[in-house]
């Protein structure tokens, strides 16, 4: 049986226990490591741990820490700080000392701000498999990232090993785990590559599970990420986050939810786009052939406001428990407003919504794009007061958006665009079954809602929205 003690001179509790260590060394085999001064404590043969290698490997959080080892060197038990009773229990000895029975310890130097990621990058580096690129010390870090083509046009956070290691603390998943194949180059994507791109995007480690779930969802065949990237259409991936995690990481679901200013909203959507760009090789002018793109292709991510809604959330509608946290990916264009400040009855407001939804893609285009209607609190109140469920709202919208093909055929209304004339005399719905989603978000003042139109290729010929649970393990 032997014992290891980790101390630092700067710690008053470590200094306090020196007489205990002296008494102990007469009874047991004691190995002392000092984090700051190998000359402390005086009178002992002290091991130098100023590089913190031992402290890091032994996962020391507090000094002093005393660890009991078996004869084969395996840890049996440990205690930290100075708690006379706990030390006695660990040692199986009575410690008669003229010092207080209890003093809390001090923080281990391995826990100093910025230190865990430094030590992880130094001692756990073999966890990272990505190529290391050397940047000359005179080179500007941010410009170096631009030069290597890693940016979406805005500055990215340079992916140093320390930052990548810190990002990986956001998940317990193995950095080497491959989660899918990223288009257009169809290359395998590991958790590590996602973490590196999350660093570039500016994510905090706590966002990483959301980013991983978003990438997993984007790589499902039914989402059709390859086609969504390659299309001449406007669209790109939109991430809607539901569940308690969206609130825990401080996502914005209220005022300006679809806009700038919230780090989680901004960087999660951006990280997904950077994975497609950097891992998949999907770049504008390359496989991305969009005529216009849209501003959401920098980042498009928001949370649904579930706590104030009278309706079940998008994720519950899609079969998940309300305690689950999920991402839903949607192939989205930009946003179009729908302003109605006078409707106080659901029927009237539904008609306004339908008129706005009718023009998605083109007023004559049917069964092509999906759409998401983002209903604001003041608009939702109209339905809440009348006791309307989300289902009722959707059903009524689908009725109002069932359109006579006489209005849709080529030439109707003096517009050459349209359906073949042989389809005249029929009724077509604007959206495919399940192609219209309703979510609740936005600030508390303003009788506005928002329509997020979808890619012109929806359902089996293109993209179907995909929802995935966010795994925290």
């Amino acid at each position: 049986m032997s014992y290891i003690v980790i101390v630092k001179e700067e710690c008053a509790t470590c200094q306090l226990v020196v007489p205990v260590l002296q008494a102990l060394s007469e009874h047991v085999e004691l190995t002392i490591y000092s984090q700051d001064n190998p000359g402390f404590p005086a009178g002992f043969e002290v091991n130098d741990d100023t590089d913190l290698a031992v402290s890091w490997r032994m996962n020391i959080e507090t000094v002093p820490t005393i660890i009991k080892l078996s004869e084969t060197g395996e840890e049996i038990d440990r205690t930290f700080g100075w708690d006379c009773a706990a030390w006695e229990a660990l040692l199986g000895l009575e410690l008669k000392q003229d010092i207080p029975a209890f003093r809390p310890g001090c923080g281990s130097m391995t826990q100093d701000p910025g230190m865990p990621e430094k030590l992880a990058a130094k001692y756990d580096r073999d966890l990272l498999k990505s190529r290391e690129l050397s940047i000359a010390s005179e080179e500007d870090d941010i410009e170096a990232c631009f030069d290597r083509g890693w940016s979406d046009g805005l500055p990215v956070v340079p992916p140093t090993p320390e930052r990548v290691m810190r990002m990986l603390t956001g998940t317990k998943r193995d950095p080497a785990e491959v989660i899918g194949v990223v288009p257009p180059d169809l290359v395998e994507c590991s958790i590590e590559k996602i973490a590196i791109n999350a660093v570039l995007a500016g994510c905090k480690p706590e966002y990483l599970p959301v980013v991983i779930a978003a990438v997993e969802a984007a790589l499902q065949d039914e989402f059709c990420m390859h086609g969504l990237l390659a299309t001449t259409y406007y669209s790109g991936p939109l991430v809607i986050v539901n569940g308690p995690l969206s609130r825990a990481i401080g996502m914005n679901s209220r005022g300006n939810a679809l806009g700038q200013g919230n780090r989680a909203n901004a960087t999660i959507g951006r990280a997904l786009q950077l994975v497609i760009r950097n891992v998949g090789g999907g770049k504008p002018g390359g496989v991305d052939r969009s005529v216009f793109g849209n501003p959401g292709k920098y980042t498009f991510c928001f949370a649904e406001d579930e706590t104030n809604s009278c309706w079940e959330s998008l994720s519950v509608e899609r079969g998940f428990d309300e305690t689950a946290s999920t991402v839903t990916l949607f192939a989205a264009d930009g946003m179009q407003g729908i302003v109605d400040q006078k409707s106080r009855e659901p029927e009237s407001l539904c008609r306004s919504f339908a008129a706005g939804l009718r023009v998605v893609g083109h007023p004559k285009m049917v069964l092509a794009s999906d759409a998401i209607l983002v209903v604001s609190p003041e608009h939702e109140r109209v339905f809440r007061d009348a006791g309307w469920t989300k289902r009722q709202l959707k059903d009524r919208l689908m009725e109002l958006l069932t359109i006579s093909t006489d209005e849709l055929i080529a030439g109707a209304g003096g517009i050459a665009e349209g359906l073949p004339e042989k389809l005249a005399g029929r009724q077509f719905p604007k959206f495919r079954e399940g192609g219209l989603q309703v979510v609740r978000a936005g600030g508390s003042a303003g009788m506005f809602s928002a329509i997020i139109a979808g890619w012109g290729a929806s359902g089996t010929i293109g993209s179907t929205p995909v929802t995935r649970e966010i795994k925290l393990g």
């Binding site: 990505s130 994507c189 090789g281 290729a457 010929i461």
Partner: protein, 91 residues
């Protein structure tokens, strides 16, 4: 010196040479692959007319949807049955 971790797939793709072009299509079979965009059939109909006039055999194929890459089975079938293929994109 600063170290960055590479965010890319680290691929260094090998340059692949295209297969040799047939010097003459006479008596050969040309596949006509419609990617399922609107009016692709009009374009391919015209191509087919022109090829048949020149004594070239044709075979028609269609991708299930323009939004996804062609299924492997379809690519294999075209490779087996044709000497060349024209993939047509229309709108």
């Amino acid at each position: 010196m600063t170290i960055f971790m590479d965010p890319t797939s680290e691929r260094s793709p090998e340059a692949r040479q295209p297969l040799p072009r047939p010097s003459d299509l006479m008596g050969k079979t040309v596949g006509l692959l419609d990617i399922s965009k609107p009016r692709g059939d009009i374009f391919i109909d015209r191509l087919e007319d022109l090829l048949i006039q020149r004594g070239v055999k044709t075979k028609r194929y269609k991708k299930p949807t323009f939004t996804r890459v062609a299924p492997t089975e379809l690519k294999q079938q075209i490779a087996e049955e044709c000497d060349a293929v024209i993939e047509s994109l229309a709108d």
